[in-house]
């Protein structure tokens, strides 16, 4: 059964990546947060700047007791974190890490990612409802309303890129952008692709519930949103999914606008091994940007949130799509 064995390896690599990345980014998030707030953060565990702290945190989460509220719905309460993580993990299947490795080279790659991440929405609703807690339910409802609203500008900006490159296959989108920084999509059709990127980045912040769009988890109003009742490993699953989603949207931004695994120097340093380096570092750069924004910007109000999505981002992205489409026809 070498076929099944290959499939298992191909599906294991993204999982391994997510786990290692989550441990690293846990440390980075706390350190960036501390330095933004002019304090030091972790300093003791593991010697240099508390480098072993995420491992200690992880062990703590693993050994914690699983508390299931008495009036919760037991099946869905257990299923929800699995569903949320499984869907963001499934989306990694279509991410091209390098020119020679992609878990599933789908013809409808980017479309598949958009579709499969909608399972996250169901998982969040499931978590909020099964907790039998009004804060959880309110948090879940806010979260879903936000994700569904912001899906429209996100998808429209992705569609703009698809119009420009003419394929849905993420590997082909990367291939098109090969040959240095000047052939990246962000510099095509100036200034429309730049606007598209800004819309995509803003909307994707809302998609992953990051500040300034983190009203689903507003501590001052909702305790912790849809995962209020979760403890131990189930809670960790939600966190893992959130971090996985952060890299997912960043990775998509890197692929769609910044060449994915292609080197910024053309042929220089463009072997498949370096491809992984370029892709991951481009992705991590946007993750870092998200973390910086989280500790810089205040939270939006619910009505402002809806205003930004429906009255600002959606019309601009429609106009943008039409302009790029027109330009692409005339060319």
């Amino acid at each position: 059964m070498p076929e099944i064995f290959n499939m298992l390896i191909a599906s294991f690599i993204p999982l391994l990546f997510i786990l290692i990345y989550a441990v690293v980014i846990l440390w980075v998030e706390i350190k960036v947060a501390s330095h933004v707030q002019d304090r030091l953060g972790y300093m003791y565990t593991g010697g240099f700047h508390g480098i072993a702290q995420p491992i200690a945190d992880l062990l703590k989460l693993l050994t914690k007791e699983h508390i299931t509220p008495a009036n919760s719905d037991k099946i869905f309460f257990t299923l929800a974190p699995v569903l949320v993580f499984a869907s963001s993990y499934a989306a990694y299947a279509a991410l091209p890490f390098t020119s020679t490795f992609i878990a599933a080279n789908l013809n409808v790659g980017i479309f598949y990612i958009i579709a499969i991440t909608s399972f996250v929405v169901i998982g969040i609703l499931m978590a909020g409802w099964s907790s039998n807690n009004k804060y959880s339910l309110l948090g879940a409802m806010r979260s879903v309303a936000q994700i569904v609203s912001y899906e429209i500008p996100t998808v429209l900006s992705i569609l703009t890129v698809v119009v420009a490159v003419g394929t849905l296959n993420l590997q082909e989108i990367c291939e098109i952008q090969k040959g240095g920084i000047s052939s990246w999509n962000i510099f095509k059709y100036p200034p429309f692709m730049l606007i598209t990127f800004l819309i995509y980045f803003t909307a994707s912040l809302a998609e992953v519930n990051r500040t300034p769009f983190d009203i689903p988890e507003a501590e001052s109003e909702l305790v912790a949103g849809y995962h209020t009742e979760y403890t131990g490993m189930k809670f960790a699953m939600f966190y893992l999914a959130e971090y996985a989603n952060m890299f997912l949207v960043s990775g998509i931004a890197a692929i769609l606008f910044f060449g994915g695994w292609s080197s910024p120097f053309g042929k220089f340093l463009s072997s498949p091994g370096w491809g992984v380096f370029w892709f991951v570092s481009k992705g991590l750069f946007f993750v870092f940007l998200q973390i910086m924004l989280r500790w810089t910007l205040p939270r939006l109000r619910v009505d402002q949130l809806m205003y930004v999505s429906w009255k600002v981002l959606t019309p601009i992205s429609f106009v943008n799509l039409m302009m790029v489409g027109l330009w692409a026809i005339l060319k």
């Binding site: 789908l106 958009i114 579709a115 399972f119 169901i122 409802w129």
Partner: protein, 167 residues
């Protein structure tokens, strides 16, 4: 049994099993969530038939759109998730006749159709072909569907909009 067969039977089991839960569950929210697995199974079957675009569209429209709407509807209806909704068996006679007729028709179609084996078909991307056909041969149905959707959208806006009462 090949890998293809295993995948087919697993997906068929998921689809049919969750569909049974949808119709037989006493709690309406269980039905709504069980629908998720039905849609997932159907999408998987589309993948097995090499219809990648349709499979992804199925998930995007049904899971991302319609199912969220159904669950929201159930949750926002006052106390709907606290009261167990009774599912009773009603009108057994007419139901047997109607479902029997539908089943007979389907069986007839299944037996009469000359099936071809998807395993023998050359794998090919479907997105481009669907796009081309929609813009050429099937342009009129496509446009009619868009008009229907527009009408539905306008209707929803008019129903949802609260007119300001002049005092």
């Amino acid at each position: 049994m090949s890998l293809f067969d295993v995948a087919f039977y697993v997906l068929a089991f998921i689809t049919v099993g969750s569909a049974i839960v949808v119709v037989s569950s006493k709690n309406i929210i269980y039905s709504a969530f069980a629908l998720l697995f039905t849609f997932f199974g159907v999408a998987g079957l589309y993948v097995l038939l090499n219809a990648d675009f349709i499979a992804v569209t199925q998930i995007l429209i049904y899971v991302g759109g319609i199912l969220v709407l159904i669950i929201f509807g159930v949750m926002l209806t006052t106390k709907a998730f606290d009261v167990p909704i009774k599912t009773e068996t009603l009108h057994v006679g007419p139901a047997i006749v109607v479902t029997g007729a539908i089943m007979g028709t389907l069986f007839g179609v299944i037996l009469k159709t000359r099936w071809f084996n998807v395993l023998n078909v050359q794998w090919d991307g479907t997105t481009k072909k669907i796009g081309e056909r929609l813009m050429t041969d099937f342009l009129l149905p496509f446009e009619v569907a868009s008009v229907v959707l527009l009408v539905a959208l306008l209707g929803a806006v008019i129903i949802a909009r609260r007119e300001k009462v002049k005092s």
